[in-house]
Amino acid sequence: MATTERLTATESTADTILRVRDATVSFEMDRGTARVLNGVDLDVKRREILGVVGESGSGKSMLASAMLDAVEEPGRLTGEIIYYPEEGEPVDVLNLSKAELKRLRWEEISMVFQGALSSFNPTMSVRGHFTETLRAHDADVEAGMERARELLSDLYLDPERVLDSYPHELSGGMSQRALIALSLVLEPNVLVMDEPTAALDLLMQRSILALLSDLQEKYDLTVVFITHDLPLVAGLADRLAVMYAFELVERGPAAELIRDAAHPYTRALLKAVPNLDAPLSTMRSIEGSAPDPVNIPDGCSYASRCPLADDQCLREDPGGYGAGPEHPVSCHHWRRADEAVPFETEVGE
């Protein structure tokens, strides 16, 4: 299987490119402080594709923004985010000067936002977006545009036509691909993608994913792919991280996590998908709702929906269990999860 091959490849060169520690985003509100990202730890490995999965409102976009120190006012980001370039000193992302941060963004770590069409200035041609970005970073515009054309062709777009278009003249799939090209024009090492395919039809989603995997190889990219659609990334990602209620509850190698999911929530997610190849538009099919970010309960935040919940779960924060060497899980009873939430269909076949 392709996934396992790539997995062994990453493991051999495994070193961390982005280290996230205790990342917390809080909003001061009338009702109290809302923590919409709650002490997240995560290592992104060099040249891997990391899938981050979670239901709507679980804090995925917050995590993505945090990686570029781009959380919007009045949200406050605390914790530690370290970027390790291939050569040179590690970069403490949250303590950069304005100029350094500007260089980090787009030149080292780039981002594709949810909703491509709204990421473009509606009154500027696509070409304008490329040239202004190159100019803003004092890059060689000529060479940069050459690269832009190559990227666009790599994404199966007609470069001149797209460059001369205005955003509204592109279809959803075209503008999404143009946005990916724009995010790569300054040759970043890390690409964070927040639901890049959410608004597209199934065929377009799959073809963009295929293109993405080619791009990743060609340009040696590290990709963080955020989505609410687990089956979509399952085949693409080397590793998966599952988000629930503003925290990461489980992460591990993609194949292992899908085969032996250790967290009841992950298992419920997988169970909600009878066949991994089928689309899953929303994960709200799991009963119950996520906790309020202002009053995150003591103990396990999944307890109100979990069939295994007991007193311990309500009292103690579950943390630091390992379901495998590279497979941390936040659940006191992860060993019993497979009995409590069995898969009805054979996933392995």
């Binding site: 936002f113 009154t123 803003a136």
Partner: protein, 337 residues
């Protein structure tokens, strides 16, 4: 291109409709100009004029030959207006209407264009700053001032300016277009005098309308500031100045273009009252004079001229909109209004 053709046809049709309308007003309105002129002529001549002579007089004044069949009257009227023949004035000793109004046109256009431009630029700049400092004391204060000035009719402002700056402090002239001792032409004295005379009318319109533009711009800018593309632009490291002009400015101003179309008509309407207040001999001034003197040919001529000016202004704005906003192909800019 297709859009321009369509818009041109629409503008031509509007002019055509306006001339038709003025024909209806003159000829068909019961108790309207034709009836009135006839009554006047009969009364003044004390019955010495024959029916034919009366009809001839009416025809020369209004371009409408009342004894012809209605459709002939209509076609004749349309033809003479299109030739630039608006009839002859009753009041100004039978001068052609165009000779009375023609010299007034540039003055009215000068007042209107200048006020519109100043009010727009001032309002847009102020609104943008308010949006950038949303919620600050400056924003709240400016919003209050804008709301207040927007509620004061321009003629109230005009009367106040005239009273205080014109009469009490004697800083500005209280009538006319330029000082009589200057000679019209491209000389400094004349230009300064014209500006001095135009200052109060222009100031009245500017004060009455910049607040509306400012509030409009503020709202649009705040909306644009919350757009995704602005966030992406910042992450791409674009300089703040480029973001302010090319992103916020442009995207916030474009929707106001529609308002500009409406403002043109509004301004020309306002010019009539203002020119009367400041005794400023523009088209509107003659229009009111004509109404008071029952000089219908001049009145209708002024109406047609003003309407055609507005139609041309709206046409230019409409067509250039498609050119500055890439999304506006095929037009329909007024749909959103």
């Amino acid at each position: 291109m297709n859009y321009i053709v369509k818009r041109t046809a629409q503008a031509v049709f509007t002019v055509f409709a306006v001339i038709t309308l003025s024909f209806v007003i003159i000829r068909l309105l019961p108790g309207g100009p034709a009836d009135y002129l006839r009554a006047q002529l009969i009364q003044r001549s004390g019955g010495s004029l024959t029916q034919e002579q009366i009809n001839q007089r009416i025809a020369s004044q209004t371009n409408i030959a009342v004894d012809e069949p209605l459709y002939v009257q209509y076609v004749d009227y349309m033809a003479s207006i299109l030739r630039g023949d608006f009839g002859t004035s009753v009041w100004y000793s039978n001068e052609p209407v165009i000779a009375v109004l023609g010299p007034a046109i540039p003055w009215t256009v000068f007042l209107m264009a200048t006020s519109l431009f100043i009010a727009f630029v001032l309002g847009v700049t102020l609104g943008a700053f308010m949006a950038y400092r949303e919620g600050s004391g400056f924003d709240v204060g400016s919003t209050g001032v804008s709301l207040l000035t927007n509620s004061v009719p321009y003629y109230v402002i005009a009367l106040l300016l005239l009273t205080f700056l014109g009469y009490r402090m004697e800083l500005f002239p209280t009538g006319g277009q330029y000082a009589s001792e200057t000679t019209p032409g491209l000389n400094l004295e004349f230009v300064l005098s014209a500006l001095h005379h135009g200052a109060l009318p222009i100031l009245s319109l500017v004060l009455a309308s910049f607040g509306g533009w400012a509030l409009n711009m503020r709202g649009n800018s705040i909306r644009v500031l919350g757009e995704d593309y602005l966030r992406v632009a910042r992450l791409r490291g674009l300089p703040e100045r480029r973001i302010a002009l090319r992103y916020v400015g442009r995207n916030a101003i474009l929707p106001m273009y529609t308002g500009l179309l409406i403002a043109i008509g509004f301004m020309f309407g306002g010019s009539i009252i203002l020119e009367e207040i400041f005794a400023y001999p523009g088209v509107g001034y003659y229009m009111i004079q004509a109404i008071n003197a029952r000089d219908y040919p001049v009145m209708m001529g002024a109406f047609i001229l003003i309407t055609v000016a507005v139609t041309i202004g709206v046409f230019i704005a409409d067509v250039t909109y498609g050119w500055i906003d890439p999304r506006a192909e095929g037009g329909g800019t007024r749909e959103s209004y």
